[in-house]
């Protein structure tokens, strides 16, 4: 299986350095080749363990972290918001 690394990297919002391209390509193809050894199977799968179903919490208003505590880790903030480059013209 040929893997289109450039396309995959773009989807994943990654860029691969020119000199590493060949190495990544080969490694990815080896991993994909390992994965292809799995036999084809019939039937579907269940996403959730039926014997231990999830219990979702109620959708209700309750106290959460303070805005200034949450923003402390943001690389750039202004007026209580995170700053990103302009996205609309």
């Amino acid at each position: 299986m040929q893997v289109d690394i450039l396309h995959i990297a773009k989807l994943a919002r990654l860029s691969i350095e020119e000199e590493k391209m060949e190495k990544f390509q080969k490694e990815m193809e080896n991993i994909v080749a390992m994965c292809e050894k799995m036999p084809l199977m019939e039937g579907d799968y269940t996403a959730v363990d039926p014997s231990h179903p999830m219990e979702l919490r109620k959708d209700e208003v309750r106290p959460s972290l303070k805005r200034e505590d949450v923003l402390k880790n943001a690389p750039q903030t202004q007026a209580g918001c995170v700053v990103v480059p302009k996205i609309v013209e």
Partner: protein, 488 residues
């Protein structure tokens, strides 16, 4: 014997009898860290000041005659992907080099309620992706038995800190073997709990359907005590199971009379080092002499487990790691022209190669046209592997296998070949795929002088049985301890 070498159980007894203070225990452990850390490198952050403050608090409680928990005053290492309020939590990645969580993971809250002393944040493979602790952005942790060798991964620093006496206990996380593999390489006990028994709230997510936080220690009882403290329902984690748990350490009976041990032939094949097979089989013989019996069982899809594991875990990782984009926290690139450029540069500079590889593999298997051929097939395989385990447990109570097909390898030996690195996980991944609990205990020393691990796998929520069997085995081999070179 120095304080730092003792088990949590004996230290707790000493505290109750006032034979030593919590401050003395923490000081002894910090002393060992300053003696060995340069050589071993278990920690990204050592929390010296906080640890001493907590120890003083415990001593005040003891002086006031208060009842203390079994973990009060015990120095514990916490893997650096578990959030600790106001303490750096990096995932050993450049991407989170400056991340200071504004909240505690649930397990950390529980440690604090139990008055445990968090001694430091343990080094790991970046984002828990790796089997050797070599993909950390900050440093390579060394094996305390021989510093030319890896400690295993991804919870390498958690295992090495316990093995080197730099912590009495540690928390790790296990997505495909990341607690059990380093536990076996470093000669300590490590438990990967049943999926859903320990809250994942505050654990930086790698593969949410497989990740589980668990304890590492130098005795089975210590591991059971730490597990009793961290397990239980948490409304903050929708996948945490709704059930009651008891005190596992208090209920241990260490008996194997009448126990049916399943021995799957697929785990003793050509890929497993003969020395390891012999050590594991002798371990099983010891239990048989104590009244257990062996039953041959079969887990025929084991050969496909690594494939299914890498597809499912990478698919989930590609989605989970999309949040690291330089906007809300962590690293942000310096120069960018627009939002997409900001994302792409931040992620390309912030993530290491192994993380990029897995994000791309995950993106690939989920991408249009490939989903059925890879992801769906892997999920079907997951169901098949679970069914094979269920069938095996109709014939036996517990399954025993090697933890890894070899002992620890040399630093740098496998970094150029991802598939060779992934092979270290061949004996551990099926357990995560099926959501089962498994414990790794030391079962001998190989001719290269490095420890060998024996893995005990049980049905869901059978941790008590695992502690009983592992505890019996521990008694039979005379107990475990810090690595010989690290003794005080």
């Amino acid at each position: 014997m120095e304080l730092f070498e003792m088990t949590a159980a004996s230290l707790s007894e000493k505290l109750r009898k006032k034979e030593c203070s919590a401050v003395e225990i923490t000081r002894s452990t910090l002393g060992q860290i300053s003696n060995t850390e340069k050589q071993i490198g278990s920690f990204v952050t050592v929390c010296e000041e906080r640890a001493m403050q907590k120890a003083e608090e415990v001593d005040r409680k003891i002086a006031a005659g208060e009842t203390i928990s079994p973990l009060a005053g015990i120095p514990i290492g916490v893997k650096d992907n578990i959030c600790t309020k106001d303490v750096l939590t990096t995932c050993s990645s450049k991407m989170l080099y400056n991340f200071v969580p504004p909240y505690n993971a649930t397990v950390v809250d529980r440690l604090e309620q139990a008055d445990a002393v968090i001694i430091g944040k343990c080094n790991m493979d970046e984002y828990a992706m790796g089997s050797s602790c070599e993909t950390s952005y900050f440093k390579k942790t060394k094996n305390p038995w021989n510093s030319e060798y890896v400690p295993g991964g991804s919870s390498g620093g958690s295992a090495s800190s316990v093995s080197a006496g730099e912590a009495v206990l540690a928390l790790g996380s296990d997505t495909g073997g990341s607690i059990r593999l380093p536990a076996s390489y470093c000669g300590v006990v490590g438990l990967k709990p049943t999926y859903g028994s320990v809250s994942r709230y505050g654990l930086v997510a790698f593969a949410s359907s497989l990740d589980q936080i668990g304890p590492l220690g130098r005795s089975v009882q210590d591991v059971a005590t730490l597990y009793s403290t961290i397990c239980g329902r948490d409304p903050m984690d929708a996948t945490s199971a709704v059930r009651e748990y008891g005190d596992f350490a208090g209920k241990m009976n260490r008996s194997v009379k009448g126990l049916r041990i399943g021995v799957p032939k697929e785990y003793f094949g050509d890929g497993v080092d003969p020395e390891i097979k012999t050590a594991v089989m002798s371990g099983i013989d010891l239990l048989v002499k104590e009244g257990a019996q062996t039953v041959p069982v079969s887990l025929p899809s084991t050969d496909y487990a690594l494939s299914a594991y890498y597809i499912i875990s990478s698919a989930e990782a590609s989605s989970n790691l999309a949040r690291f984009d330089g906007v809300k926290y962590g690293y942000r690139t310096e120069k960018y022209t627009n939002l997409l450029d900001l994302y792409e540069k931040t992620r390309s500079e912030g993530f290491g190669d192994e993380v990029k590889r897995r994000i791309m593999l995950g993106t690939f298997v989920l991408s249009s046209g490939f989903y059925d051929a890879y992801y769906k097939r892997a999920k079907q395989m997951q169901q098949k592997i679970s069914a094979e385990y269920a069938l095996a447990y109709s014939q036996c109570d517990v399954i025993l296998t090697p933890t890894s097909p070899s002992t620890a390898f040399k630093i740098g030996e496998r970094t150029d070949d991802p598939l060779k690195m992934y092979a270290a996980d061949i004996c551990t991944v099926t357990v995560n795929i099926a959501g089962l609990p498994a414990i790794s205990v030391p079962c001998g020393i190989a001719s290269n002088g490095l420890p060998i691990g024996l893995q005990m796998i049980g049905p869901k929520f059978s941790e008590q049985l695992l502690f009983d069997v592992a505890g019996c085995f521990e008694n039979l081999c005379g107990g475990f301890g810090v690595a010989p070179a690290m003794k005080g």
